[in-house]
Structure formats: structure tokens, C-alpha cells
Amino acid sequence: MPLPPWLLSDRAGLVLLAVLALIGVGVPVLNLLVPPDHPLHLTAYTVTLLGKYLCYALLAVAVDLVWGYMGILSLGHAAFFALGGYCFGMYLMRQIGTRGVYGDPALPDFMVFLNWKELPWYWHGFDLFWFAALMVLVVPGLLAFVFGWFAFRSRVSGVYLSIITQALTYALMLAFFRNEMGFGGNNGLTDFKDVLGYPIHADATRIVLFVLSALALAGGYLACRWLVSTRMGRVLVAIRDSEDRARFLGYRVERVKALVFTFSAMLAGVAGALYVPQVGIINPGEFAPLNSIEAVIWVAVGGRGTLVGAVVGAVLVNYTKTWLTGALPEVWLFALGGLFVAVTLLLPYGLVGLLRRRREAAV
């Protein structure tokens, strides 16, 4: 099957997809088939870590779509990530069943501990995988749509919108910290046992989750790349660069924004849903404003408005974070802040932008 022209002309994207295919095959082989004492063997820890990076990369792609192409600097995208994570975490909690500490067949441990007698209404249905999977899209999508509908219709934009998105994720964090919310409060959801009947800590399950993360990232990337290559993509750029021009050309800017924002939130939700079974926990800390800001930094480092840059930035910054929080934990936040300042001042188009400029200079 020949590649469509919009993909064929996207060389960086093809490289990304090739790399994803390579690690999608290579990582399982190095983990499952190479014996543990072999130097090339990948431990379960590494596999999970890589899977986590891929989830972050998908979140970064979602951020780049709204920020890089539509000009909406969302400082609350981790909220959609966390909501997707909670939805899938609820499914994983229900899967525990009688294997919890208190052995209640329906109620998760934290509810028994709080002396609750029955399952809150919003926990119903989450024992079904398909329902939870649907909610992973619906809950972040709905929140983004309602939020976007009101914010964009009121023509809130620029820094004001960024501040409101930040407030949104902060408010959600405070809400989820409360035990009365019914999402495990401070501790969140954890102690997962299995997913679709497969033990969640088994190597094979981890590998499947890793491969699914790679597929989700590839799918999310392709969807965004396709979207920005259509006329709709040009409308997004027009909205970013001159909202009034787009409006006076007859485009309903606020609706376009609300729809693309919603789509982006859904991608973030999927990323969160894949993240939770791999790290084994979701708690209100995922709503922390800093998480959303970090996601923006990944995109800035990689190069906004490039999609590939979002992936590169997410993986690089998180790799640095893993390394630095191990080696020099107190330095990490300074490094992150410094990185953002340096990128803003020196690399306005990020690493991908730098490579492009190099290549253009060479031609």
C-alpha cells in the first residue's frame, strides 16, 4: 500500500514511526528472549520506564497540537492525563475483587476503610473493561469540551486562558485529595492485581502494555499529523497567528478550538490510561500544576509545532529527569527551570527547529 502524500512528505515523522516499530519489536525481544544474565537483557524496570516515557510522549503530542498549532498554551493538560489514568485505575481497582486486604467483592479497600456500605454511583460500570476504556476518552473529552466551550466562547485567550487551565488542574487536585470524593484521597488508587485477567506485574503483561503504549503514540502522532496536514490544519495555524483574520474569513474560531482541544484532551486521557497500569498507581499528585508545566517544557525543548519535537522533548527531558533525580535529586528542579529559560532564549523552535535550521543552512 503506498503511503499517502501527507505522510510521505513527513520525513521526521517516518523516522519516528520507524523507531517506534523498532523498539516495539526490539524491547520485547531483549526482555523476553534474551536471558537475564546477558548484558543486552532489558529488565522489567527498564521496560516499564520506557513505557512511561512513551505515555509522556503522547501527552506531549496532545499539548503540541493545541499549543504549537492552535496557539493555546494549556497549563492544565496533565489534568486530562490524570483523569484518563483515574478512569482506568477504577477499572483496575474493581478487578482486585476479593483479593483486597478487606476482601470485599465490590468495594475497593479504601471505601471499606472509610466505612462506606455501598459503591458510589459513579463507580458503577467500571468493572467492565469496555466501559472503562470508553470513559478514558469520554471523561477528559467532556471536561475539555465544556471548559473549552465556555472559555473560548467568552474569548478568553492568551495568558488568561493559561492561568485558567492551571486553576482547573489545581482545583481537580484539591478535589481528588478529599476522601469524600471517593477516589482514594491522598493515596489514590493502587495495589492493582491484574488487567483483563492477566497479572499486572508479569513480564508478558508489562511487555504488552509497553507495545500498546508505542502503538498509541504512533496512532496519536498519525492522527495529529493527518489533522494538521488537512485544511483544518491550516485553519488552526490561522487561528494561532491571527484569530481575527480567521474569524473574518468566516470560521467559527471558538468551535474549532473547542473541538481540537477536546480531541487533544482525549489523547492525553489515553496516555494517562496506559501510564497507570505501568506505574501501578494514580494519585492526586498527577494533577499537580507542575506536571502540566513540565509537559509544556518537553514540547518547548523538542520544538513546538512539529509533533516530532514533542516526542523527542518528552523522552529526552524525562530521561534526564530519571538520571538526575537519581544522581543529584536536589538539582532537578533547578535544571528543569534552567532548561526552560535556555530553550526559550536560545532555541525558540526547540531541538527539531535547530536541526531544521542546520539542514537549511547546509542546503
Binding site: 483574520r245 474549532v256 473541538l259
Partner: protein
């Protein structure tokens, strides 16, 4: 929901599918329009009529209300009172910006506002009418008819050689023409053009005058401009705005004799030029 998704361009709100009704020879009616900003009357009981196919220049000192008037016509600002009609039947005060664009009013901003990271062709494609339904937006290809339409406009604005160039690297004058071309892609009946020749070289001004003159007749064109030489070269009729109302209207040479006009504007203006 389906309405919401399909109607990204405001066409669902298009009040009439039939063409604009300009039977009485008037395309745009502004009647007794007043706008107040914090107690300041930016537009004060303004009445203005633009004929079908007419090329009208609007002049006036800074703060006379020229841009506010454009904002009202295009739906950016809602007046406190008054009536604004497009043809006999379309009440513009009931429509918002995208809907007004779709009934056939195009607006060029004072600063050239083209989408710089896109090519000239892509800018025109973006502005194309009829392509804005969701299905049309979710495509990457152009139909033959659309291609022809873009080629015709490219030719008209004198950028036929530059279709593949990024709009951001065009010369200032070319950007202005591209923006006018974007308006033409919308197939408007009325073009509102805010200071088209600011910053242009004399040669570019001549070409712009030629372009605007060629559009009159098939379109009504309203030009807000400071440059008297340019106004003289294009306009049949000139309206002088002052303090939010019409001070005088007529041929430019008549107006230049009018003592009240000389007093508020032309005298001072000529002294600068």
C-alpha cells in the same frame, strides 16, 4: 452536536440562501448608529449608505470613528442603537463575525494580516468559500474547480508567480494584495479595506488603485485611507467622518473646497503632505 461539528464556519447561521437583495441600488445601510465607549461617543448617530457596485472612500482625522465603523459592519462591535442592514433583508446586528463574512462582507485589516507560515496558495485556499464544512476541512486535496478559482485570484492580485512562496517572505505590498485576494476567495459583495496603501511604494500604490478600481462594479468597495493622492486616484465619492458622524459627502474636489472639511481635516492633512 452534529450541527455543532458541521457548522465550523457559521454557514448554518446564514439567514438567507438567496443572494443579497440590493434592488434599490443600495447594498449597505447604516442608520442612526451610535456607539459609546466609556462615555465617549465613538460613533454618533451615523447614517451612511453604500451603493451596489460603488467604490467609496472614507476619510477623516484620527479618532473620527473609521475603524469603529468597520468593526460595527463586520460584527466585532455591537452598537448601542441604530440599524445596520446588508441589502434590504439581512440585519447585520443579528449576526456575528463569521456569519457576516459568510453573507458576503470581506474585511481587510489595516496591518496586512496574512498567515505567514503558510504559502500564498494555502492562504487563498484557507479563505475559499464553500470549503469550510467539516468534510471539506478534513481533506488534503483541491478539486480542479477550486484550483481554477485560486489561479484566477492569484492572477488578479498579481501574485501568479508567487503561489508557492511563504506569505511571510512577501514584500509589504504583496502581502496587502494577498489579503485582498483572500477576501476575493470568499466571493464577497462588499469589501471593506482599511488603509490599503500605508507603507507602499508609489508603484505599488498604482497597482493597488488599479486592483480596487477593477473590483468596483462587480463588488462594492469601501476604502478607509489617509493618503489624499490615493483617494483622488480611485474614488467617485468620498465621505468625511468627523467625531463619529458624517461631516460631508461628495466628490473629492468639491470637498476640498468645503470650508468645514478644510477646517477639521483637509487643511491640516494637506499641510502634512
Amino acid at each position: 452536536m452534529s450541527e455543532l461539528i458541521s457548522d465550523l464556519d457559521g454557514s448554518g447561521l446564514r439567514p438567507l440562501q438567496e443572494p443579497v437583495d440590493a434592488r434599490h441600488g443600495i447594498l449597505l445601510y447604516l442608520e442612526e448608529v451610535t456607539v459609546t465607549f466609556d462615555g465617549f461617543k465613538a460613533i454618533d448617530n451615523l447614517s451612511l449608505y453604500i451603493g451596489d457596485g460603488e467604490l467609496r472612500c472614507i476619510i477623516g482625522p484620527n479618532g473620527a470613528g473609521k475603524t469603529t465603523m468597520m468593526d460595527i459592519i463586520t460584527g466585532k462591535t455591537k452598537p448601542d442603537s441604530g440599524r445596520v442592514f446588508f441589502g434590504q433583508t439581512i440585519d447585520l446586528l443579528k449576526l456575528d463575525e463569521p456569519a457576516i463574512a459568510r453573507v458576503g462582507i470581506g474585511r481587510k485589516f489595516q496591518r496586512p494580516t496574512v498567515i505567514e507560515p503558510l504559502t500564498v496558495l494555502e492562504n487563498l485556499e484557507l479563505a475559499m468559500s464553500g470549503a469550510k464544512r467539516l468534510r471539506g476541512l478534513m481533506t488534503t486535496r483541491l478539486s480542479g474547480e477550486e484550483r481554477d478559482c485560486i489561479a484566477a485570484v492569484l492572477d488578479r492580485i498579481g501574485l501568479a508567480e508567487h503561489g508557492g512562496r511563504l506569505a511571510g517572505i512577501l514584500a509589504h505590498g504583496q502581502k496587502q494584495w494577498l489579503e485582498i485576494g483572500m477576501l476575493l476567495m470568499q466571493e464577497p459583495r462588499l469589501l471593506l479595506v482599511d488603509e490599503p496603501v500605508a507603507g507602499m511604494t508609489p508603484a505599488e500604490m498604482d497597482r493597488t488603485a488599479e486592483l480596487l478600481r477593477s473590483l468596483a462594479g462587480s463588488h462594492s468597495v469601501v476604502v478607509v485611507e489617509h493618503d489624499m493622492g490615493f483617494v483622488r486616484s480611485i474614488a467617485d465619492r468620498v465621505t468625511v467622518l468627523h467625531q463619529g458622524r458624517v461631516l460631508a459627502e461628495g466628490r473629492l474636489d468639491e470637498l476640498q473646497e468645503d470650508p468645514t472639511v478644510i477646517d477639521v481635516y483637509l487643511g491640516a492633512g494637506d499641510a502634512y503632505h
